[in-house]
């Protein structure tokens, strides 16, 4: 045991472990594979066949394609091309150095120097790789190099003996290689033989890198600026309210301003409570479920409380710290204000009374964030891959905006339920038809807006009906109707209360 412990502690053991790890990681790029692997891809789409043929067989004179009329000689490699090619956004320069040889003992035998590099963006699952002319190099030569996108990880395959018969592609694969390219980076893939093993000849790739740019710096700066603005705003508001408190004190002949500020700072919670007294959580109205509301309207005592809380900034002291929860208990359980403004789905009417239109600030904040991201995405998203919609599979931030809005619509729906079923202006419960009319009117408006937005340049013949707002309309109409209906079912009142006649 002691020997093992000593060994483990010694540097030699550590390096041995690392060496073993290295051997294992480098020596097994293809599990259980015999090089070259013969890859057969069946029933490929004709257009893909054409692309593949053109890219992999169209340019290299070779035994099996030498009779082809379209075959051209490979581009001559130039170092200047590799070094001085202008690179745009999300572009990198890649070339290979071909130092790969085979002794011809493999089956099928590889013609030396005919190694080609096929590529696909790794985000494209099981895609057909396409050969890149700029990555073709004769034996012991550099290739000309090619511009590759850095948006996604890059998947390289080293292939030879490519044949295309009908819709079937067959080639020998000597290895695969994955790499995350960086913007404006210049890479040389040194392709050599894998250490000879029972697996036969495989390729081993090492990479020379001229490092690229860090593309996240603009994003970090933007985030820092926004964060700074948020901090600045908070501090400014804090000081502003301290000034109000100061002037109030001066009128009342109270303490000195600085002492006031100090006590204000010490009494942080109370201050925040006082400042935000009106933006309480809607918990009470969530759980209260008194949509058919027993209490008739606005409670007088909570009005007084809220007035005191709002005045609390001036009053000072810890008094409102105790009053605020009281406000929460009283003011928010009421949901029968019948405020017309609260019938709006967007504005979540949670008013204490009819006069103060309250909003759920957390939801508004979230809505603001989602809106900002949506606008950012719609104007390009800075070219970042996660601010763009995923091409086919995967999920990006941009893909989340729509679900966020749907979720917010649901939350608003639950919160504004009371206004939908609450008493109308005449103080009576709305009829079934009135409620349905409201629901479908809103859905129809949303649907029409969606049609206008998504078909701004098309005729009636090629009108595209589904769209984002249309989906909002459909889900809104169905879920809202469900919610309204089940609220009545749940209340165990006969549906007749819904007064179809009215």
């Amino acid at each position: 045991m002691r020997a093992v412990a000593t060994l483990l502690r010694s540097d030699r053991a550590l390096s041995a472990v690392f060496a073993l790890l290295l051997v294992f990681t480098l020596g097994t790029p293809v599990a259980n594979g015999q090089y070259p692997e013969v890859v057969t891809i069946d029933s490929v789409h004709p257009s893909a066949i054409a692309l593949f043929y053109q890219s992999c067989l169209g340019f290299i004179p070779q035994q099996d394609v030498s009779s082809e009329p379209g075959a051209q000689s490979p581009p001559s490699p130039k170092l200047e091309d590799y070094l001085s090619t202008e690179l745009g956004v999300d572009e990198s320069m890649v070339r290979i150095f071909n130092n790969f040889t085979t002794d011809g003992s493999t089956t099928p035998p590889a013609p030396p120097g005919y190694l080609r590099v096929a590529f696909y963006a790794a985000v494209c699952t099981d895609c057909l790789p396409l050969c890149l002319p700029g990555l073709y190099a004769a034996q012991n030569m550099y290739s000309a190099g090619t511009r590759l996108t850095t948006k996604y990880g890059s998947h390289f395959e080293f292939v030879s003996n490519v044949t295309v018969v009908g819709s079937t592609i067959r080639y020998s694969r000597w290895g695969t290689f994955y790499y995350d390219l960086e913007e404006h980076g210049r890479y040389t893939l040194n392709v050599t033989n894998l250490i000879r093993s029972v697996n036969g000849d495989g390729v081993f790739v090492s990479v020379d890198v001229r490092p690229g740019d860090s593309i996240y710096i603009p994003l970090l700066i933007a985030g820092g600026v926004l964060l700074g603005l948020a901090v600045l705003y908070t501090v400014a508001r804090y000081l502003h309210e301290a000034m109000i408190a100061d002037s109030a004190d001066r009128h009342a002949g109270g303490e000195s301003p600085s002492a006031r500020l100090l006590s204000y700072a010490a009494d942080d919670d109370a201050a925040v409570m006082g400042a935000r007294g009106r933006g309480m959580s809607p918990r009470a109205s969530f759980l209260g479920s008194n949509i058919h509301g027993s209490s008739g309207g606005f409670d007088k005592s909570s009005a007084a409380v809220s007035r005191r809380v709002r005045a609390g900034i001036v009053d000072g002291g810890a008094e409102h710290e105790q009053l605020a929860p009281e406000l929460q208990e009283h003011g928010w359980s009421d949901s029968n204000g019948g405020d017309k403004a609260r019938q709006d789905v967007g504005s979540i009417g949670l008013g204490i009374g009819a006069k103060v239109k309250e909003r759920l600030r957390s939801l508004d904040t979230f809505r603001g964030i989602a809106l900002s991201i949506m606008i950012f995405v719609n104007y390009g998203g800075g070219g970042y891959v996660f601010f763009d919609h995923s091409t086919w599979n995967g999920l990006t931030v941009a893909d989340l905006v729509f679900p966020w809005f749907i979720w917010m619509m649901g939350v608003s729906m639950a919160l504004s339920m009371s206004s939908f079923l609450g008493r109308g202006d005449d103080g009576r419960k709305p009829s079934c038809l009135a409620v349905l009319y409201k629901i479908f009117r809103r859905a129809a408006i949303l649907f029409m807006l969606g049609l206008m937005v998504s078909n701004n340049n098309s005729t009636l013949g090629d009108l595209r009906i589904p769209g984002v707002l249309q989906r909002f309309a459909i889900s809104f109409a169905s879920v809202r109707r469900l919610h309204v209906y089940l609220t009545f079912v749940r209340s165990r009142q006969p549906i007749g209360v819904f007064r179809l006649s009215e």
Binding site: L287, V489, R490
Partner: protein, 55 residues
């Protein structure tokens, strides 16, 4: 039908108290909406359309 009736009958008993009061408050909606989602997933992943992969 029986299940729905059972839910309607049971839910008020747990409604105001208990650990899952906020869920049970709207249990019928949960059931229906989850059913809709299940239907959509079933259509997406199980419906065999000639010439198309599922999912």
């Amino acid at each position: 039908m029986i299940q729905v009736a059972l839910i309607i009958w049971l839910v008020p008993k747990f409604k105001t108290t208990g650990m899952f009061a906020d869920i049970l408050d709207n249990i019928l909606e949960w059931v229906i909406v989850l059913g809709l989602i299940a239907a959509q997933l079933a259509l997406t992943f199980a419906l065999k359309v000639p010439g198309c992969p599922t999912g």
